[in-house]
Amino acid sequence: MNQALHHNEGHDSAPSSLQRLIADSVERLFNDHVTPQVLTQFDAGVPAHALWQQLVEHGLPQALVAPVSDDNAATWLDVSPVLRGVGYWQAPVPLNETLLAGLLLSRAGIEVPEGALTVLQAGAATELELTAAGVLNGRCANVPWARSCRWAAVADDKGRVALVDLRQAQVSVEAGSNFAGEERDALQFSAAPVDALGTLQLADVRQPVWVFGALVRACMLVGALESCLDQAVAYANERVQFGKAIGAFQAIQQQLAHMAGAISAARTATEVALYSASQVMQAEPGSTSSLAFDVAVAKVCAGEAASLATSVAHQVHGAIGFTQEHRLHFATRRLWSWRDEFGSDAHWAQVLGQAAIAAGSEGFWAGLTARTL
């Protein structure tokens, strides 16, 4: 069992050796290959193919692919440096979507195809239906990177997972993008047959794409938030006005401290959700967990932090941060996009609020401490 899941009294969730190894290679790869030139090129319509090739060579897109019975499989905590790294370096590739698709497919006993993969939620509360015979009908909006992916993993709310070919004639794609120019496409399925169908062997996840998708976005938000904070602190320490670095002014310090507090809350909440998600991977199918609650908390905190941090980071940077030339916007445009995706903070707050009101004064604290509200 992974070291990060051993928790003795008073011990914290120290990173596993696998997590540290992944963190090192992510830092090296992204530092070298996600340069301002790559991001500027991406904004001009040039996909980051060379970056993707590097990631494939290091095996990162398939890091969560493992047979159902594999006790040594990498966990969500182990791959968390990848999830956050995509946010911290703003890597313009479907890496995290491919990771999630790989997990869902392999946990349903479906062979994972090569290349970039995207994810779709079907069933209740969506406009997409997966029939018993394995045929898809309906629509799905804001699908990440659909044009860049030949295949998608589809999960419904009944524990079924399918692999579908997005290049078949029964699927039409309407191109779209988020504020950062990342593909967010609308897909229309007209009696599209799936290529494989399986049952998800994972505990207590009713809407896996929706819930894990929100967890992945929360991690990406935290990464981009840390990038904003690092940039703002560095800029405040080097920019001199009135004879001193602006970071020496209390007005700047107080804003950055406030921003750091919100980011810290988002990071801790996201760590807790990653821990739950890792436990779910090792739990018996059918057992319950706190994952849905923990993910809702993480997405609310990360979304709220994004709203505050984009404002403070731009304010501290002044006019230069508003230029195309400065790299701050690579992070802030993604924060404004990702806070909306897989459920905005208002959406997840509503879910939590309904549960809290239902629990009432008698049940709220018990639900909060058990993380099952």
Binding site: Q253, A260, S264, A269, A349, G353
Partner: protein
């Protein structure tokens, strides 16, 4: 960045089992405590209740047995604290002694004061207050003017302290004062801590009523008060360093985000689950409760491992006060002109709306805390 990374800390089965026990006790002990009293949270004082906790072994839980403690884990203690606060138990009488004075004496007077006084603290019988602020000294603690002058067998103290919570009922005051001048390049030099018996000749305690008319604060006057050598805490001149360690304990606990819990609970009972304005705004608060709880627990884990989480503690307190202070305004937004006068919600809202301004003043102002966080970020 490293300084502000608060990693989650996971409670074990032993701590969770204790939670069940504490809940059962509180359901019984507090069954007649009205919502308006629970709203006082850790400002509510009841010495009989504090002694009951002592009898159950829930004070001084982590201390060695030779000091009257129970040698349980810091996380077990954390569970007891958060259960007491969430239930609105009247814990103020023993709170400061148990939270910071006991640990301070254990660290800096392990052979003299700790064996003598800690067993009574653990029984809930000996109450402490803290003399830091002075009439002209608030956030700028290095400027304290209360002085102790060495004399045969002890010290003679003159000066005054202010905002001293609970001094009217406490036995001892841990007092920050000057035993020497400020040193060149070190404005915190020359400070020391003395333990002053509030019944000693020369001590006068005068009440200061807060804006609700309550008597929590006091002004404490010290005129030629004799303090025996044994009652010096630590070393002369080390006062500032010692206070720093104490402040991490003072700022990091669950009391720094739970003060408005009763108001949140009343709002939940008054809310309409079909109204998106209610569900979204109360849900945002629920998320912040969950995150703050994990952060607070994470800092408790750092303390349990012997780390000094001064910066994370400041951050948790700043975030906690933001959560607490958002609550009265939310109650105003959702129920400002629709609540029933005299209802539980009304009573709790009346009290907490008027108390909330103090939450970002006590235990370090928001500005001081954010200054500490800014230094942690590497801003100079």
């Amino acid at each position: 960045m490293q300084a502000l990374d608060i990693r989650p800390c996971h409670l074990d089965a032993k701590a969770e089992a204790l939670r069940v026990e504490v809940r059962r006790f509180l359901a019984q002990a507090l069954k007649d405590l009205p919502a308006a009293e629970r709203a006082k949270n850790w400002n509510g004082a009841d010495s009989a209740f504090s002694r009951q906790l002592g009898e159950r072994g829930w004070l001084g839980m982590t201390w060695p047995k030779r000091y009257g403690g129970h040698e349980r884990s810091a996380l077990e203690r954390y569970v007891v604290l958060e259960e007491l606060l969430a239930a609105g138990a009247p814990v103020n009488a023993h709170w400061i002694a148990e939270r910071q004075s006991g640990p301070l004496l254990m660290k800096f007077s392990p052979e003299v004061l700790a064996p003598r006084l800690l067993p009574a603290i653990a029984r809930g019988e000996l109450l402490f207050c803290i003399g830091m602020s002075e009439p002209d000294v608030g956030s700028d603690l290095a400027s304290v003017r209360t002085r102790a002058v060495k004399t045969e067998g002890g010290w003679v103290v003159n000066g005054s302290k202010v905002w001293t919570t609970g001094a009217q009922r406490c036995d001892y005051m841990v007092t920050l004062l000057r035993t020497g001048p400020k040193e060149p390049g070190n404005r915190h030099g020359g400070l020391s801590q003395l333990l002053i018996d509030l019944k000693a000749p020369g001590v006068t305690v005068r009440p200061i009523h807060n804006m609700l008319g309550e008597h929590d604060f006091n002004e404490v006057f010290l005129e030629d008060v004799f303090v025996a050598d044994d009652f010096l805490i630590g070393q002369p001149g080390d006062g500032w360093k010692q206070v720093g360690a104490e402040l991490a304990l003072e700022r990091s606990g669950p009391e720094r985000y739970l003060s408005c819990t009763q108001l949140y609970l009343e709002m939940l009972d008054a809310a309409d689950a079909g109204n998106p304005h209610h569900t979204v705004s109360l849900g945002r608060v629920a998320a912040r409760y969950a995150a703050l709880r994990q952060m607070s627990l994470g800092v408790a884990g750092m303390l349990a491992r012997g780390e000094n989480p001064a910066t994370p503690a400041a951050l948790v307190k700043d975030q906690g006060a933001l959560l607490e202070q958002a609550m009265p305004d939310l109650a105003h937004t959702l129920f400002g002109d629709t609540r029933t006068p005299g209802s539980r919600l009304d009573q709790v809202m009346r009290y907490l709306t008027q108390t909330a301004p103090s939450f970002s003043l006590r235990g370090g102002t928001r500005e001081i805390l954010r200054g500490i966080i800014a230094r942690g970020l590497g801003l100079r």
